[in-house]
């Protein structure tokens, strides 16, 4: 009977394989297919019209806004039958912006009164991109990274285009492994200020620094949860490194891994209920996913996520949780790979020493480092841009979510 089942299975398999192959496009036609991270064709871009801005700095505001929106490439800027119309005014650098849809419904009407015109325009650009597309804009987003330009490894911030560079830590022995919270108001990192690795959180608005974990052994690899209230970190005070979740509101910690190996680089699922991390249990670092229990009594499930690579580290979920980017070792060199979550094919985004990928808030770009240079790569077009070069050895970029 079992032989008969096996025969039927093999017959069906051989019958289905040619069907699957028959829909595969020839190589020349595949170039015409729109490239998409998820494999689905991209939706047509919305048509947006920008009308005149009134006020003393209205003309500058209009130019700046068009520049921001052109760089964002989230919609087509045209005055012919627009789906949305943008209007506003600007006086003394303040910006008031409005977005109206085709039916005349007002989607956004807000005034931005930060000290600089550019700052206000970026905030307005992000708000209107969110109002039109439902996805976050990148104008106000920030990338945290580590650079040894000052002689020691310190944490820096910059815009997605590499501008507005800012050194945020100045500790004697350096700071590494940064993570920005969702709104970019705080950065967590590993500081060597006492000579030992401790995890600290710096409030970028107020400037105060708080030590979150100063336990025996080492503490590193911090990652903010999507709600910003928890921090996933690696601590080793138990006698071996484990992944912990620290509740920043109560200063309590819970261990979420169960390993005697080498766990590291935890990262949160966008739903805040799972953490993905790498763990080397003696056969190279692989990726594991564990649930984060809301109560102590609940038992957490842990699974090993098979990627097809024997050396995987620095995993990070895409904002839509349909893919995971990670560092793999291919041959003797590191490479950035994206694989569909929970199932899907793998795609090498950049080989030749590329490492530590991090998704943009809209999931369209990845930032990573390669030979000390910070790159941003468009996942739809494959276009790669070095946004920061010659700023020391840059490592561990992390894009604000």
């Amino acid at each position: 009977m079992s032989v008969l089942r096996l025969f039927i299975f093999l017959s069906l398999s051989t019958a289905l394989v040619p069907c699957a192959q028959s829909v595969t496009l020839p190589a020349w036609l595949r170039l015409l297919k729109p490239m998409s991270r998820a494999g689905a064709p991209r939706a047509a871009l919305k048509r947006v019209s920008v009308s005149d801005f009134t006020g003393g700095t209205g003309e500058s505001a209009l130019r700046g806004l068009v520049k921001e929106l052109t760089q964002a490439r989230e919609f087509t800027l045209t005055s012919e039958s627009p789906d949305f119309t943008i209007s506003g005014s600007s006086v003394g650098g303040r910006v008031t912006g409005r977005v109206v849809n085709r039916e005349g419904e007002k989607l956004l009407d807000r005034t931005y009164a930060a000290p600089g015109l550019d700052e206000n325009l970026k905030a307005f650009a992000d708000d209107l991109i969110f109002a039109v597309t439902g996805k976050p804009g990148l104008a106000t987003s920030r990338i945290a990274f580590v650079s040894d330009k000052s002689g020691t490894k310190q944490v820096y911030l910059c815009d997605p285009d590499g501008k507005d560079l800012q050194q945020v830590t100045h500790h004697t022995y350096g700071c590494v492994s940064p993570s920005l919270n969702a709104d970019g108001s705080a950065v967590a990192y590993t500081s060597y200020k006492t000579g030992f690795p401790v995890v600290q959180v710096l409030d970028l608005g107020l400037g105060w620094e708080r030590t979150v974990s100063d336990t025996p052994g080492s503490s590193f690899g911090s990652a903010f949860s999507p709600d910003g209230n928890r921090l996933a970190v690696v601590m080793s005070f138990l006698g071996n490194p484990e992944i912990f979740v620290i509740d920043l509101t109560t200063n309590s910690a819970a261990c979420i891994s169960d390993t005697t190996g080498v766990p590291g680089s935890p990262s949160w699922h966008p739903d805040g209920k799972q953490v993905i991390f790498s763990d080397d249990r003696g056969d190279g670092p692989r990726l594991y996913v564990t649930e984060v229990s809301e109560t102590n009594e609940a038992e957490a499930k842990r699974i090993r996520w098979r990627t097809g690579y024997g050396f995987c580290a620095d995993p990070e979920f895409s904002p839509e949780a349909d893919s995971v980017a990670f560092t793999a070792r291919i041959g003797s060199e590191l490479a950035v790979v994206v694989k569909g979550w929970p199932n899907g094919s793998s795609r090498v985004i950049q080989s030749g020493g590329a490492a530590h990928p991090s998704w943009s808030p809209n999931g369209r770009y990845l930032c990573y480092t390669q030979h000390g240079t910070l790159y941003v790569q468009n996942l739809y077009t494959g276009q790669k841009q070095a946004i920061l070069n010659g700023h020391g050895q840059i490592t561990e970029p992390r894009w604000m979510k």
């Binding site: 492994s177 590291g264 620095d314």
Partner: protein, 139 residues
């Protein structure tokens, strides 16, 4: 052939490191000096590790016999610091160097050194020496 299969259960795994039966938690770090803040004297030659291995070899244990003998004299405290070579993912390097330091500490505990007299730290390649070694600093 089939009769031999059950015997496979008793074979050791080739790919995994041997796990310790009891893992000892670290005590307070107060009073320990970091190698970053001052020159410390190593208690023995640096222990070199190959690749991404973190299990101790016979050569490591032979070197550590010097530390065990040294401890029995005046019971000093040790800081066991792990380092790694560049070219690995940064966070993995930190965890790996910490894990190697913990493996050394575990062996020293099993050899009779007091657990409270030892602290571990993993620097990855954030600090020199940037090579795959564990250095035991006498405090």
């Amino acid at each position: 052939m089939l009769g031999a299969l059950p015997a496979c259960k008793s074979l050791p795994s080739l790919s995994r490191e041997k796990e310790a039966e009891v893992v000892f938690a670290l005590g307070p770090r107060d009073g320990f000096t970091s190698p970053l803040s001052g020159a410390l004297k190593p208690a023995c030659p640096a222990l070199e590790f190959a690749g991404e291995k973190f299990a101790l070899t016979g050569a490591h244990k032979k070197t550590l016999a010097v530390v065990v003998a040294d401890w029995s004299k005046d019971k000093p405290r040790y800081l066991i610091a792990g380092y790694s070579q560049p070219g690995l993912p940064d966070d993995f390097a930190r965890s790996l160097s910490e894990r190697r330091a913990q493996a050394v500490r575990q062996y020293l505990i099993e050899s009779g050194v007091e657990a409270a007299n030892m602290q571990t730290v993993g620097y990855g390649f954030d600090s020199s020496p940037t090579s795959s070694v564990v250095v035991i600093y006498r405090q």
